[in-house]
């Protein structure tokens, strides 16, 4: 035993303890840069792409730059302080902003301009790097206790850089080629997707709130309504879409007014009905819980102040319940974005069309063109409504 062991261990200040999370994330990023394929190259859209390592794609100066930047993140996090965290945030943003340029360099090196069909795919290493950088952003946001507003600013400016690069210089990229081949279709599909989701969510907000209010009034209704909604959720979304085909087709054939209104077995109507049916459970559950959970003391205080029942509802219960209700809207919307993709199978349109067409043709770039925007849409809505709930929380932003 040395003397050091006998001494009481000095309590390290909070700032001195290395941030293990960021350090290990940066080690993982290094492994991804060096060990995984950064990009892939294919002669056309159907053939299997071959992976290319970062060293071959952006050359040693590029790999060196990437490694140095990544090590900088880990190094700054090794001795954390507020300044170092801000610096690390800067480096992470810099890496994110430089990543499309890496793709440009790779395209310049790897794509033969003689082959118009040749295309550059994004490889596993690139995706992993992107994903871990997002994790770094989350960790830094938590450590710096930034408001939700900041990541929106940061990510949208990075998004701008990406968009500029994509529209000006990244024409070799498979995703961009796929987009250019069907840009009108894509924009229409995206709009359809958003429209379907927003109509379905609006309907379920209205119906869900009404149901929740009814349930509060007629307690007997509560159990059976929840049982029904729970049962609806056990039917796979896929089946619900399928099950609505026949009855609606029959209705459209036999009730001409409905057919004129656009009801048919295939297309938007069954999709909308299924989406609403699925969205109701989270909506009703959250609204009901939100309204029920307002503390009785608060309500009592309100009536002691001379508020009438309607005033109590509009001025006390509803504002207090709003953030939790909004949480229900968030869950519902994110779920509906995913389900709408499935609705493409029954001809409802939307971005899912590209996924299923792409799967059918084994054209993975097309699948990506459908899946990636859905993913981004879900994340954006999630972040946006989360931020809104934070603002609406009683007492405002913490």
């Amino acid at each position: 035993m040395s003397l050091l062991d006998a001494l009481p261990t000095p309590r390290l200040g909070r700032g001195k303890h290395p941030n293990v999370v960021l350090v290990s994330l940066s080690v993982t990023m290094l492994a991804a840069v060096w060990g995984l394929d950064a990009v892939s190259v294919a002669a056309n859209r159907i053939v299997q792409a071959t992976g290319v390592s970062a060293m071959d794609a952006i050359g040693w100066p590029g790999v060196l730059l990437a490694s140095l930047l990544i090590i900088a993140v880990g190094g700054l996090a090794y001795q954390p302080s507020r300044t170092n965290y801000w610096a690390a945030l800067g480096v992470v943003v810099l890496i994110l902003a430089l990543m499309p340029f890496g793709l440009m360099v790779a395209g310049h090196f790897l794509i033969d301009p003689e082959l118009p069909q040749a295309r550059l795919g994004i490889g596993a290493g690139y995706w992993v790097l992107l994903f871990i950088l997002m994790l770094c952003l989350i960790e830094l946001r938590l450590k710096l206790a930034l408001r939700r507003f900041w990541p929106v600013v940061i990510l949208s400016s990075i998004g701008l850089v990406w968009w500029l690069c994509a529209s000006l210089w990244l024409s070799d990229l498979a995703l961009i080629q796929e987009f250019k081949a069907r840009d009108r279709q894509f924009i229409q599909a995206a709009l359809e997707h958003i429209l379907l989701v927003s109509v379905a969510v609006s309907i379920s907000i209205v119906v869900g709130t009404l149901l929740a209010l009814l349930m509060r009034r007629f307690v007997k209704l509560q159990k059976s309504a929840f049982a029904l909604l729970n049962f609806l959720q056990t039917i796979p979304s896929l089946a619900l879409f399928g099950l609505l085909l026949a009855p609606l087709a029959w209705l459209a054939a036999n009730v001409p007014i409905l057919a004129q209104l656009g009801v048919s077995g295939i297309g938007n109507t069954p999709a909308l009905i299924a989406l609403v049916a699925y969205s109701l459970l989270p909506m009703v559950r959250n609204t009901y819980i939100a309204l029920e959970e307002v503390s009785p003391d608060t309500l009592e205080a309100a009536s002691a102040m001379g508020m009438r029942a309607s005033q109590r509802f509009w001025q006390v219960r509803l504002p207090l319940a709003l953030p939790i209700m909004l949480e229900g809207v968030r869950i519902t919307t994110v779920q509906a974005i995913g389900l709408t993709a499935v609705a493409a199978l029954i001809g409802a349109g939307g971005l899912g069309t590209f996924i299923f067409q792409g799967l059918g043709q084994a054209a993975m770039d097309m699948v990506l063109l459908g899946a990636l925007p859905i993913l981004i849409l879900a994340l954006v809505v999630d972040a946006g409504l989360g931020a809104l709930a934070e603002v609406l929380r009683p007492g405002g932003v913490r």
Binding site: N19, V20, V21, A124, L135, I138, E139, L142, F231, Q233, T234, I235, P236, S237, L238, A239, L240, F241, G242, L243, L245, A246, V334, Q335, I337, G338, L339, A341, V342, L345, I346, G352, I355, F356, G358, L359, M364, V367, L368, G370, A371, L372, I374, L375, A378, L379, D382
Partner: protein, 271 residues
Amino acid sequence: MKPNVKQPARLSAQSPSNRLWGQPLLWGLLLAICVLGIPYAEGLFRWFEPNARQVIYQRAHFYDLLGRHLLVVGVAAIVTISLGVGAGIAVTRKKGQDFLPLVSQLASLGQTFPPVAVLALAVPVLGFGTLPIIMALMLYGLLPIVRNTLTGLQDVDADMKTAAHAMGMTPLQTLYQVELPLAAPVILAGIRTSVTINIATAALGATVGASNLGDPIIAGIINGNMAYVIQGALLIALLALTIDSLFDALQSKIRLHLSSSPGDLARHSTR
């Protein structure tokens, strides 16, 4: 002290527990009857599709499809549970504490990813077949498990842990004999949600060539044959109800166990 804790509980729980297993048994029986009986119920399904050439899904046996469905959900569940509970335990230990905020954020991010999109993104990497759907189910099912494991473990009374420590338990013993048993009902509730959601979601696998109970549904949608869709949907719904009631019974059993063991540490914390 272990036998002390368990014995009386098992005895006292005996009679109500028999009643507990009735419901899952009933649903399971119904599922079995449907799986074996649908091929003979042509008359019934003919009623939905009077003009179709075939009304019973023929491309595979229903018990085969059910088996594959269970396999996919089971594998995904095992991986998700070990990952989710493991991560939950790791980040509530002293050494892993730093990862706690990131892991809880990550788990909630996992459910933001629509399963269809994950499925589609997984296909280029993992190929067509069963792997992409397992991957999608894992990501989708992780949140409820991680969230509930964290809640369960964090809600264990700090006094209980101190008491365990004072009794000379090692941290590992505290984890296995105090924290996990106390958190078990909450963790199980998370596993239940995750598995039930995934039984329905697994049907999506049929779109990327993983053959399971989603197959008849897809075939039905493509051929416009309602009878197929009903067969697939019926079996999936019954499977979900069976598994869900099984978990329900398991939860009640654990609750009985926790509340009726006299010498148990657990009893004090539930007050």
